[in-house]
């Protein structure tokens, strides 16, 4: 299960469904035991999460809206992971891009630039900032072979603190008491779809995931990235420019994380307060794994997770179970996923497949 593994279609459909549903079931089960230990009713909690995240119209719309940044981050991670690169710095890339867009958008809107120009400029700036924040890890990896796990994580911590400095000093809105950026008027934000509260950034995000999936599966560029990912030495022998491809994979991955920041800001928040860090990236990483880097599966998992997040946030207010519980669920999901993966491999080895 290296980062560059391709998704495979093997075994019966039943086995595939089991392999995905079993970890989810086990994670929810252990989560339920934890809730019991904390003196909470697990059935009430899960029921409430489903009710508020999936069944109520406002909850469902909130869940779908939440998918936008998660999907864009996931799209970037698919590119990185399939290229054998562990971009674990998406949170810094996301937040820095979001903060810069938060400063740019209200200014441009106030100066009477049209929506198209403002949004276009914001998207481009966000992608460039995200990509720029991955430049040092890309350089260290491409030129010196330094492990990108560490360098991207360090850049992420650095980026989150730097974003706070930006919010508190140069981009601070002096009219508010809490340090935050100027607020983008609601009419200048991303347009809603019909009567819903869902903005069109979600559609953009779905398109991006499908596009990235197509790029990695069907285009020659994607194939080259996959070769670099699965066997760098073979890639050099095949005459591929491994350095350039490494930079490209980093830039696309981090650029999409930056775009996620722009969409979340322009679609939902309109302003950023100091010390806001949703840390979406570190939560999306397990989902992308669970989906075996497959774009369509990612969409399904992100939807499941968005429901869990939105429902979990309501439950935190209502039932007194902090959202930290969702973190524990994700960790359990990842561990059980790893275990089922292992058992699956062991079974295959035994049957000689």
């Amino acid at each position: 299960m290296a980062a560059g593994d391709k998704s495979r279609l093997d075994g019966s459909a039943l086995a595939t469904v089991l392999r995905i549903l079993l970890p989810i079931f086990l994670a929810l089960l252990v989560g339920a035991l934890l809730l019991l230990a904390l003196g909470k009713d697990p059935l009430a909690y899960y029921g409430y999460v489903v009710k508020r995240g999936l069944l109520s119209p406002t909850g469902l719309q909130a869940s779908i809206t939440r998918m936008a940044p998660l999907l864009l981050i996931a799209a970037g991670l698919i590119v990185a992971f399939r290229s054998g690169l562990w971009n674990l710095g998406v949170d810094g890339q996301f937040l820095l891009a979001a903060v810069c867009v938060a400063a740019l958008a209200p200014g441009m809107a106030a100066h009477g630039f049209g929506d198209v120009i403002t949004l276009g400029a914001c998207f481009i700036v966000a992608m460039v900032i995200g990509a720029a924040w991955s430049l040092i890890p890309a350089f260290l990896k491409a030129s010196h072979g330094i492990n990108e796990i560490i360098s991207t994580l360090m850049m992420s911590f650095l980026g989150v603190s730097f974003a706070n400095v930006l919010i508190k000093i140069p981009f601070n809105d002096p009219t508010t008491t809490v340090p935050q950026t100027a607020t983008l008027p609601v009419e200048d934000r991303l347009a809603r779809l019909g009567d819903s509260t869902v903005h069109w950034g979600v559609i953009l995000a779905v398109i991006m995931v499908v596009a990235v999936h197509w790029m990695m599966e069907r285009s020659s560029f994607g194939l080259k990235l996959q070769i670099v990912g699965s066997n760098p030495r073979a890639a050099i022998h095949a005459g591929l420019n491994v350095k350039l491809l490494t930079y490209a994979a980093f830039a696309i991955s981090a650029g999409l994380a930056g775009l996620a920041g722009a969409v979340d800001l322009l679609g939902v928040h309109g302003t950023i307060r100091a010390d806001w860090n949703p840390a979406y990236g570190i939560l999306v990483i397990p989902l992308v794994f669970l989906a075996r880097f497959n774009g369509y599966a990612v969409i399904a998992f992100v939807f499941f997770f968005a429901v869990l997040m939105i429902g979990g946030e309501s439950a935190a207010r209502r039932l007194g179970v902090p959202t930290f519980f969702v973190l524990v669920l994700v960790a359990l999901l990842m561990l059980f996923f790893a275990v089922t993966e292992f058992l699956d491999q062991a079974r295959k080895k035994k049957t000689g497949a």
Binding site: M1, L283, P286, V328, A331, L335, E341
Partner: protein, 311 residues
């Protein structure tokens, strides 16, 4: 600027550097053992966090620092046990498992903190110190360096002990072989998986101990997410030290200085936004990586599970 050179400033800088540096030293030395044996332990942050929580919770309920430290180390050890089972015995992806453990530790300790301590925020009393006779009376540095908790001296002694283990013992050779040429170790009749398993357990214990020092001595209380990336910095320290424990010590002190600069500058009356200060250690890691890029060294078999007979 003359305020920067006062006794109070230098004293608080050294004191803070050591307080912030000891958890990094313990965790960094621990990580070095794993890395040497060929396991990249990304879950170190989670092990520290469990150690920080368990150390504080136990020390608080039993009013004993010794039992607290032991609990912290054991909590890290237990986490490492899970990691070793999944990654060493079952050959799972070390990075996925490491991230999962860190996420789980963040969630679980924050959850437990919420239900136990978030209403009262209890604090531990100041940790007992062991003044070294003579040395602790030195001006300026005496109190900051030689009137510290017993664990501080033990951590520094551990560095020396590890130099000896790595360079002079069969155990050190075995560790090195497990990371450099696992097949050779196997051929010599020593279990690769056993060696790696033991190495990961050592990492867990030391990481947990480092976390416990952070909550029990450094802060006197537990806060959610309190390790704040220290585990990852420790991984970098181990990576840049190229297998030499003394370099982990030097690195830990340097990072300790950059972490403690904030408090020391406030003592000196200089006000810099805390976010700028928080950037310092991470900026330093990046800078060090760029400057010493060529010199960082990781064992060839790092991160690769061992299967007998595979090439």
């Amino acid at each position: 600027m003359s305020a920067l050179l006062t006794e109070a400033f230098i004293g608080s800088l050294i004191f803070g550097a050591l307080t912030a540096g000891i958890p990094l030293l313990l965790a960094g030395l621990g990580e070095q053992i794993s890395e040497k044996a060929g396991v990249l332990n990304i879950g170190l942050e989670g092990m520290m966090l469990f150690g920080a929580y368990a150390g504080f919770a136990v020390a608080y309920s039993y009013s004993s620092f010794t039992i607290g430290f032991l609990a912290g180390g054991l909590a890290g050890l237990a986490t490492a046990c899970l990691m070793a089972l999944l990654c060493v015995v079952w050959s799972m992806n070390q990075i996925v498992v490491g991230i999962a453990l860190t996420l789980g530790a963040e969630g679980l300790t924050a959850l437990l903190h919420h239900f136990q301590f978030s209403r009262s925020y209890p604090r531990l009393p100041k940790a007992e110190t062991l003044p070294l006779p003579g040395l602790s009376e030195l001006p300026v540095v005496g109190g900051a360096l030689f009137d510290r908790n017993l664990l501080v001296y033990l951590a520094i002694l551990l560095t020396v002990f590890m130099v000896w283990v790595f360079n002079r013992t069969q155990l050190g050779l075995n560790l090195q072989a497990a990371g450099d040429k696992p097949a050779a170790l196997d051929a010599a009749g020593v279990s690769v998986k056993g060696t790696r398993f033991a190495a990961v357990l050592c990492t867990g214990f030391l990481g947990g101990l480092g976390g416990a020092y952070m909550s029990m001595v450094g802060g006197g209380l537990f806060l959610p997410f309190m390790t704040g990336g220290a585990g990852f910095i420790a991984i970098v320290l181990a990576m840049l030290a190229r297998g030499h424990p003394l370099w982990v010590l030097i690195g830990a002190v340097l990072f300790g200085v950059s972490l403690s600069l904030a408090t020391a500058l406030q003592v000196a009356g200089v006000n810099i936004p805390t976010d700028v200060i928080q950037m310092l250690p991470f900026a330093m890691v990046i800078l060090v990586l760029i400057i010493f890029a060529r010199h960082s060294y990781l064992p060839p078999a790092l991160g690769i599970p061992y299967h007998r007979g595979e090439r």
